[in-house]
């Protein structure tokens, strides 16, 4: 019996213009949590997709318990006990939790589904691993954290022994992350083995036993997590020193830039307002953070400001009432927006990167002459952004956005929005899915924008980012702003209380 449950030996996988995995070896011990760390585009998702059978490598062997195996597709992977939670879940939204879990492995009796047995098994698993779910709830009604539990239960129901998590924490709230970490620890105690992709070093420190580092498609090394510091890991990964905490001068806010008065947004479900009579200001030269637990109206508030959703109330930008103006008008009159959902709003995934880089500017005289697009200008502008923001992809400006790594898609959007140089930048989770090097760079850029007299409205679920970056924190709870706090005068614990609605300040 081999020491390793899974060995991926000398795996090479190429895409047009890029070697995504260049002779990579990864060995997973039974019962360990093995982290996979690397910059955006380093090839982590590709390597895991190879293991899950979604890509066929050009070179290399995969061994299970020392025996070479062929994994031609997810079904083969499943038969070998390999399961994967994708960064974006693959659940059927109008099915119940239970239906989703048994989907594809239903047991039938006389043409009818044997739901009772399945339900029993799911409930047992759910209890055993502390994965509490309501089996009869519809997926569309439960939170992202819950959906992730369903994904995990799916793997357990299939009795998978090797569990792959691709950036599972990017979409979770801090509380949910803690829960997930505990669940993962419980799973390895049961003898399962876990491969865990994350960009957050503290998470690796907290749960992982070993960590394999990739850089630009190459294998850098595998370390025992307890032997290295976070600094050392980040250096291994980016090849230079990274400043994990941003330095910034105190803000020097000046005139009011954004004034929101009595803004309300109707909720799509139920009768309550998603945003209820909210008023606040953002001044030039400050970073204001909207903090809150996901689903307390932050998204709707941002959509209303951007003009993507209907609202009541007044929005004044640079002294001008834009409450009823079109999205295009807002875009061209000083509003920038890094959207929450990069696939839904941020990118036309089937357009080349260059086209995406001018998504709100293609009609400007610089890029468009008498109704004709100016290719050369668009491509050279895009090349400039790619260079400046280190957006990595196989074919540069020509790359179809869909084929880029998640983090590089995000970098492209951030680059585009910052470079438009808006007076007010609404940045929703700007660093979601980015590696530490990229986060450092983006944070610096945001602060530079602030220091240049621009206003930034930051929405982030990440408390570190909130505390590090913001000059003022507005806490949202159930569609209302319940506190206006100074990050230097509030502790993370206190902030947590406000976010949970346990504490409230009249503003």
């Amino acid at each position: 019996m081999s020491e390793y449950v899974i060995e991926m030996c000398n795996i090479t996988k190429e895409f047009p213009g890029i070697i995504a995995n260049d002779n990579i070896t990864l060995q997973l011990r039974k019962g360990e949590i093995h982290a996979l760390l690397g910059e955006n585009g380093a090839g982590k998702s590709t390597l895991m997709s190879v293991l899950f059978g979604m890509y066929q490598p050009e070179k290399g062997v995969i061994k299970k318990d020392g025996q070479p195996v062929q994994i031609k597709g997810p079904n083969d992977a499943n038969r070998l006990g390999i399961g994967m939670v994708h960064q974006h879940f693959k659940l059927v939204h109008n099915f119940t939790v239970l239906e989703n879990i048994i989907l594809g492995v239903e047991t039938v009796k006389g043409g009818l589904l044997k739901m009772d047995d399945a339900r029993k098994k799911v409930m047992e698993l759910s209890e055993k691993y502390g994965l509490l779910v309501d089996p009869d709830a519809l997926i569309e009604d439960i939170t992202v954290g819950m959906q992730q539990r369903v994904e995990i239960l799916k793997m357990l129901y299939r009795e998978n022994e090797i569990l792959i998590f691709d950036e599972p924490t990017a979409v979770l709230t801090p509380q949910e992350i803690d829960e997930l970490m505990n669940i993962m620890k419980g799973l390895v105690k049961e003898g399962k083995s876990i491969l865990f992709i994350t960009h957050k070093l503290n998470e690796i420190k907290a749960v992982a036993d070993r960590c394999t580092v990739l850089r630009k498609g190459k294998y850098i090394g595998t370390v025992n997590v307890c032997d290295v510091t976070q600094q050392e890991m980040s250096e291994m990964m980016v090849g230079r020193k990274v400043n994990l905490k941003v330095d910034k001068e105190p803000a020097q806010p000046t005139d009011v830039l954004l004034e929101v008065k009595n803004l309300s947004v109707h909720s799509k479900h139920g009768t309550k307002n998603a945003v209820n009579n909210v008023s606040f200001q953002v001044r030039k030269g400050e970073i204001v953070c909207l903090a809150g637990i996901d689903g307390n109206g932050q998204s709707e508030l941002v959509y209303a400001l951007a003009g993507l959703e209907k609202s009541e109330g007044t929005v004044i930008l640079s002294g001008e009432d834009i409450s009823t103006e079109s999205i295009r008008y807002r875009n061209t009159h000083g509003l920038g927006h890094i959207p929450e959902d990069r696939h839904r709003h941020g990118l036309v995934l089937d357009y080349p990167l260059a086209y995406n880089m001018v998504l709100q500017r293609y009609f400007e005289p610089k890029f468009c002459n008498k109704g004709f697009l100016r290719y050369d200008e668009i491509f050279s502008y895009s090349d400039k952004l790619i260079e400046q923001y280190d957006v990595r992809s196989g074919q540069g400006s020509k790359t179809i956005a869909r084929s880029m790594s998640g983090g590089n898609q995000q970098k492209a959007i951030v680059a585009r929005e910052i470079d438009r140089d808006p007076d007010l930048l609404i940045a929703v989770q700007p660093t979601r899915g980015l590696d530490v090097g990229a986060i450092e760079y983006i944070h610096k850029e945001l602060i530079a924008q602030r220091d240049a007299g621009k206003g930034i409205l930051l929405v982030s679920l990440e408390l570190d980012e909130v505390m590090n970056l913001s000059d003022r924190i507005l806490v949202m709870f159930e569609g209302e702003i319940v506190a206006d706090l100074d990050p230097n005068a509030v502790t993370v614990q206190e902030l947590g209380l406000y976010m949970a609605g346990a504490k409230r300040e009249e503003v």
């Binding site: 998702s45 590709t46 895991m48 997709s49 979604m54 890509y55 597709g73 994708h86 960064q87 974006h88 879940f89 693959k90 691709d166 951007a306 993507l308 079109s326 999205i327 295009r328 008008y329 807002r330 875009n331 061209t332 927006h337 959207p339 696939h343 839904r344 709003h345 941020g346 990118l347 036309v348 995934l349 089937d350 357009y351 086209y355 998504l359 709100q360 293609y362 009609f363 468009c368 109704g371 004709f372 697009l373 290719y375 491509f379 020509k398 869909r402 084929s403 880029m404 790594s405 998640g406 898609q409």
Partner: protein, 378 residues
Amino acid sequence: MDKFLKKEGTASFLSAVAAVIMGLLVGLIVLLVASPSNALAGFGMILTGGFSDMKNVGQVLYYATPIIMTGLSVAFANKTGLFNIGGAGQYMVGAFAAVYVGVEWTFLPPVLHCIVAMIAAMIAGAIWGLVPGLMKAYCNVNEVISCIMMNYIGLNLVNLLVRQTIFDSARNQSYWPADSAELSKLGFDKIFVAGATPSSVNAGIVLAVIAGIVMYIVIDRTKFGYELKACGLNREAARYAGINEKRSIVLSMVIAGGLAGLGGAFYYLSGAGAGIAITEELAAEGFNGIPVALLGMSNPIGSVFAGIFISYLKVGGQAMQSLGLAPEIIDIITSVIIYFAAFALFFKLMLAKLSAGKQKTNANAEPVSQNAKKGGTA
């Protein structure tokens, strides 16, 4: 960029060719079943009929003209993610408008008369596209359903109007457009002749090819094309970008309708001696736009070639009549080839889309390709 486009282009072209070969094979099988003794000779005629003499070459171009236009119409709407199945209705109302102007407005001087008739056809077709466009943009009514309704409204309205305005009871169809409204022959009748009979090909084919080229430029090179494609690929992102997606939807249906309407004008202004018959059937030229666009991979230039190919089969099929096969059988065989070819291509595209979820897409981009799949099959 250009090299990249070419690569994409070759791949599409090869799959279209593969689909055509599939279609031809199935056609041969049908022929073998329908008439074993004549099968091989007949199949040979389908393949070569369009080239048998210069007149037939002309006829190929003549029949290709309207279906190129309806094909462009389908392809154009497709860029905005819409399925224009209303080509038949748009084509018919366009045809009526052109014939009406051609018959009644004889006060216009020759060339102008023809131009006005074409403009009238375009406007009529555009209105027939406008309605489903508005319904889609503002009431979210599926364009397939409203297009089908517009097809029947168009058909019956044209029947009614023909009967009430320009009905020639002697021929039991509409009057023919006046000579002054006819499209110029451009001297084609001197080139494409067999013996003394010239082909009916005329300036229409030139205009159709120009329409294809213009459409290619509009879609590929202009700001307007950028907006339409963005709407078709990701409507939410287009909205985020500040593109007025409702306007894009409406405009793309209006233009699609105008193209199909113009196709109707090209056919009935050809001077081949055709009036609009009272009929209960939707115009085949309208529906043939769908396989044309499919075979042309929704590419305007591709659609021009696909239209010529399909018309080539039709002329080849006509040549087969000399074997004494019933016209219906010939129709069946040519349609089998057309639809099978288009269908094979459709299948291939669907498969490519499905496997794109696994192979072409990176794992990070999974969920959107999933949605695309849902959208594609819905």
